[in-house]
Symmetry: C2
Subunit: 341 residues, 2 copies
């Protein structure tokens, strides 16, 4: 990437926006100038980046003049409207929303898997769905050695996937519950305190799959460039703040052992094996939160497949980092200088 790019963050006051700022800083990403963009409501507020006070500006059609890279995380509607404007202004957009992910002209990138697709961009690169990233980072190196033909995933997804307001609702409603008070859900469709519920996205009336599940399926096919992988997925929201977990069962074309999976994952980029049977220590949200790796454990033979082609495992990753801000910043770091010309 350019040595001193101007980087704009769209949605800087959101949960992912805050992690964009922290991740750029922590990874020593060269930033010539940072533009902090949000809705008019937040304009005029300030934030600090590398000792400098940055005034948050209202997002407008003029916001992207002189911007080299724009990191978007303000929802699909904002991305659909403003990402093309940013591109026309000369910026490369890394978009965390679902707006462009399935667009055949937009690369959908997890750097550990398909960084090479970054160079195909026409101005926009899409950041995948967080539940997809969490599953695919560890599945990819296995898929490379022994094609995965079937996957069944059950997710345990944190509040952060629905934004800072949902995280706050989990905290406030739990506090109310502990105090014996009634709390009427405002952000989530169902009570969140000590409760869980099917993912809060719209459900296809015909298939019965919700949008989150459909994203996991479609994005896996696009990122792996393999439409033939059969995927069943159940997405569930659990009362956890910011790390997603997933129980994953997968079937390979050829027999595979748990030792082989463990060996592959031991050196896989972006993966940390946490799999201590004696201590009953496996991936947990509390350990995944605030760090970069996808934690993988409970690696074992899937006993429902006597053929020996299937493995079960349990994974955890920070939804705001590898599931969102970190993956987007990794993409930005890999942008070739010529793309910024």
């Amino acid at each position: 990437m350019k040595t001193d790019p101007t980087i704009a963050i769209v949605g800087v006051t959101g949960a992912v926006g805050a992690e964009f700022i922290a991740t750029l800083d922590r990874r020593n990403v060269p930033v010539g100038r940072l533009k902090a963009l949000a809705s008019a409501r937040s304009a005029g507020q300030t934030l600090t980046f590398r000792g400098q006070t940055i005034v948050i500006e209202e997002l407008t059609e003029r916001s992207f003049e002189g911007v080299d890279i724009a990191l978007f995380s303000a929802g699909s509607g904002i991305s659909k409207k403003f990402a093309p404007i940013a591109v026309r202004s000369g910026a490369v957009v890394v978009d965390n929303s679902s707006a462009f992910r399935m667009d055949p002209n937009v690369p959908l990138v997890i750097p550990e898997i398909n960084a090479r697709r970054i160079r195909d961009h026409k101005g926009i690169i899409a950041n995948p769905n967080c539940a997809a990233i969490t599953a695919l980072v560890p599945l990819w190196p296995i898929h490379q050695k022994n094609r995965i033909k079937r996957v069944i995933i059950s997710t345990y997804q944190a509040a952060s996937g629905a934004g800072a307001a949902a995280m706050d609702e989990l905290v406030q409603s739990t506090r109310a519950s502990l105090n014996g008070q009634v709390y009427a859900p405002k952000v989530m469709p169902h009570p969140f305190a000590f409760n869980l519920f099917s993912h809060n996205t719209a459900i296809d009336p015909d298939t019965g799959y919700n949008d989150e599940e459909t994203k996991v399926i479609n994005e896996t096919h696009k990122i792996f460039e393999d439409e033939g992988i059969a995927i069943g997925v159940t997405c569930v929201r659990v009362p956890v703040l910011r790390a997603h977990c997933e129980a994953i069962t997968f079937e390979c074309e050829r027999p595979i052992s748990e030792d082989e999976v463990r060996r592959i994952l031991a050196t896989a980029p972006g993966v940390r094996v946490v799999d201590d049977r004696a201590k009953n220590y496996f991936p947990m949200p509390v350990d995944a939160s605030g760090q970069d790796d996808v934690l993988v454990g409970r690696i074992r033979k899937d006993l429902s497949d006597p053929s020996g082609h299937s493995i079960a495992m349990f994974v955890a990753a920070d939804q705001l980092l590898k599931g969102a801000a970190l993956n987007a910043v990794q993409i930005a770091e890999l942008l070739p200088e010529r793309a910024m010309a």
Copy 2:
């Protein structure tokens, strides 16, 4: 059952013990005399049953004289020691622990599935594992119509499965977390507030499956009387108080449609279909808690099996009721009078 049996409850001060009392009362079970048994620590405390004050007695080898039915829920160790003593004293034992479940001389009963096995008892009838009950009540009527040959289950298990102390730890640790205080886990092996973790039972070092998962597998085979069902299961503890949820994917011998499953479950005993796609309303712990049915929803084609033999669904049930006390009381209600002679 006898018209005025003497019923003993072993472990009356526990989470399940309290539900034994409430369930006997609520279901108008005829009780001539109630004996409330617990450890010496609780002896002398009182509880109220149908307006009568009952003094809790210390469990001893003499406790079962004159007892017709003994409901045990005080852990495997207590059951192993005292259930045979209760039987020698003439009582029929319904045991909620895992002590005798896989004993070939002990029926393992879910009344909606195999009530007929009750008559085979030789003094002890075992109550199945709560995660097994939750899955099997809805799977059984489907299995009757179209044999299930493969099941993959991911559980979302509540604190109550580890007892009242674990429920209290969830509450206290969550309160501490909200107040910014450190809480050192005492009951659970890992932090419980806004966290989840692999089930807190011992793990087989060779297979990598924990005891809870092994119970689900073995008990399914015994209850369904079908050793050929291939079962993969991942048991996870979530920060929920008293209802278990499970994401279940199953494969039948012949093709099966979601409509067929919905029709079968609509009239299945112990099952309530909660499956509203338009309102995004499906089984949740908050709705399952305090009621008797296994709630079933998210009934849909398993997209990972293009052959059309597989269905995915999501279930929820009260771990303390159908997962424990209710199922045991249902068994007691079905005891023939002659068994009590």
